[in-house]
Chain length 262, copies 4
């Protein structure tokens, strides 16, 4: 056996690393440093090409919107508790990021799938309304109770929804993005809210899923991008917690005893 199977096993088009050479997506790193913003770099690394300025700005708006939702979010609370346990900041961040699963942030991914279905089914139609109704009905038949990207325990109207949708609407008007996933999302929202007293607003996963999908990111990357975004809040909270100086912080003060259910 020669060495090539081992070299191939780790083959990659993301980067080429040789002595004194670091090329990222085909460009020497020295031509990127200082020449490209962080948002554009994220795009380049994930897709192998660079966005234009409007695309990059839209991506950054979505990344900005998702950074934090306070200590009620399990991921944020976990980061704060973890960092008091004598582990590194990176470890605390890892324990937190690890929980951005199917129902906590990972919903963006499923929302893109949902919107893709509506977009596909409404191809050739006058609007996405009927397709949205069909898709929602089909998902309900499959037992879906929570529609990914819609509904919030706290907010009757998520304050991040409108500014994100305004940006993507403007981008669609200017042909920066097609606009089809935006229209699909609004149609789904309308279907979900029909005849309800307590609204089911599009949430942060939904509004950012619209942007990621409009920009051409495949569904799984909606979760990946959310991780990059929420990591900022996770780090900020872990860092604040370090400053508060607690040690082995539990979820409730020592004086409160968990109810014994045995």
């Amino acid at each position: 056996m020669n060495v090539s199977p081992v070299a191939d096993w780790w083959g990659t088009a993301v980067s080429r690393i040789e002595p004194d050479v670091v090329e990222l997506r085909g460009t020497p790193v020295e031509d990127l440093i200082g020449a490209i913003g962080f948002g554009s770099m994220i795009w380049l690394m994930l897709r192998g090409e660079r966005p234009d300025e409007r695309q990059a700005a839209l991506l950054e708006a979505a990344l900005v919107a998702g950074v934090d939702h306070g200590p009620h979010a399990p991921s944020i609370a976990i980061a704060r508790m973890a960092v008091t346990c004598g582990v590194g900041l990176n470890n605390a961040m890892a324990s937190a990021i690890n929980t951005l699963g199917d129902s906590h942030g990972g919903a963006g991914q499923d929302c893109v799938v949902l919107l893709d279905e509506v977009v596909t089914r409404s191809a050739g139609s006058a609007g996405p309304g009927p397709a949205a109704a069909d898709v929602v009905a089909a998902w309900r038949t499959r037992g879906i109770r929570y529609f990914p990207g819609f509904g919030h325990r706290f907010h009757t109207r998520d304050p991040r929804r409108d500014p994100l949708l305004r940006l993507v609407a403007a981008a669609a008007t200017d042909h920066v993005v097609p606009g089809d996933h935006l229209r699909a999302a609004l149609a789904v929202e309308e279907v979900l809210n029909r005849g309800r007293s307590r609204p089911v607003p599009m949430n942060i996963d939904g509004a950012t899923a619209v942007i990621y999908a409009e920009l051409g990111f495949p569904a799984p990357l909606a979760r990946g991008l959310f991780v990059l975004s929420r990591s900022v809040g996770i780090l900020a909270h872990a860092w604040e917690e370090i400053g508060q100086g607690r040690r082995n912080k539990g979820p409730i003060p020592p004086s409160v005893r968990p109810t014994y259910l045995g």
Copy 2:
């Protein structure tokens, strides 16, 4: 007992979340979305204030520089293997980020500590040279073999070093940053390379530590910022690996048998 101890237990100045309200560092999120870049948002979340444009650009340059160093890096390899094991992208990222410890990326933190020592000790001196020599000697006495931020297994001259240092030098010239940590780092590098045939170049942890320290970030955040940066490469590699379709990928092809040492 009333409820306030519980509310205080989770008290935070990072964000205020109320029904239909998301305030981040005192600003409603709707005033941030579309109005602030991702790099500036990172700064705001960590420090509670916004950077000016030059500061933000310098921060983004450091974040861009550190995104990836290929599959030889344990963190990148771990992300790629993890994502083939039937877990989510966020889980694969967490397993990888978790390894950005004291010797793998966490070195930026220790490098800031090192540079802080040189800066403090050289206060009032003509230059940082003698202080750098003293500090290096003191660390060696304490048994330090690897100086954090210096030396690389691959590179004789890390290609990320020069462009990063050029940017920070220009920022110092324009009084965007003080320049003292840059001078300290160059002095340490000179001391470490005295009389050596194989050079010990400032590496990515070192060059970015200079920037983070010049911008006023405390040492532990050098590690935190590196996590944000490297997460991009971790995600890009995990995503590429998904596309390659392997299942339960090990570190070497199945045909290669680990040597039995028993």
Copy 3:
């Protein structure tokens, strides 16, 4: 608001912790220490009651069987790489355990689901054969290519299969366990191997799933128990790696360059 919602939020029947009191599943810890084996303690904590001696021995046999499958397994390789990166042993173990997902050890869980289906469908029949054929056909229709608990890249006949099945067969003969999941598993194995030249043997996930299901553990705990088992190998390998003294160990030696696919 009084405090009880907070106390209830963390209510548990697993343990009662008061000053100078530690009760686990209703028993003071001081009555367990030295009085109960580790395997029985695992059972007690998960189910709230103690096993008899034969049940405990069967559980321990399954736990022993799964501890390790060498550095080709992503989880083992990850533990070994992680521990060279300047993080704690617990962090290295976490990065590894995190990858015991749907396709890497988590398969035990799906295998219990598969066997449960066969057992349910064959109720009242002379044997599980026809039910096994029906269930396998139904899963294939749903696109299942890899049957959880069956097949192995390395082994034509997994050496852990026979001793585990012998133990559970003996336990069934002695009415320690019902034996229905064992019969279901053998029937599935027979169906999967019909007309194949390369065999699809029951693997460690399958053989241990039989035991866990026979002992009455619900499907998700098959994954949980596998984590407890494999953690032993993960720890042993991480510890050996520490002794080898590498630093930031990658998946391949520095001299081997990943193939550039760009």
Copy 4:
């Protein structure tokens, strides 16, 4: 380059895996299944040899003692929150285990180091008392406030202390273990409690560290063994939480708002 560097890179004495062969620490796995208890298997994997019955029982007593300390412990709370976020049980366990750091369970490791120092310094003395006083004074000079293995927020006398120490004392009487680390621990406890009104009792990390050290495990494995032990409670709590059916469980009920400190 031939293949051997790659094979050597993953060389191990823990296991030998060939087609149809699984050898663990030199023994075919089929000779271990059903023939060795889980506690003895842990010992074998970590040390390459098997314990006798008394040694194995003492190890299992320590493993049993540490399984759980309720939802106040960050690790337990994290497991419970994580499992509600749409990730696998193994992921929830990983996020939790990841926090068993220097101050949360990892203390056992530092306690062994402390006791080793006392044992070494008291060699040839009549008893460990003076050495314990010297070592405690030296650690205090180095700024140590919390002595690893001693003191508890909840318990004035940890209920796990006495039964563990009784077992190790009996083992020392019967020459199963030397007894020197037990004597060192009691001497340290006495020094720490001199002139204090609020006692600083030996805690679970301390009492189990005594056992691990008496059995000859090196200090870092005290942390590793604690991980294996606490993983049981982590799994039990995660599993109970799944049964309670919450979704994205935060640290406090939605009705309690974190105090805004901005």
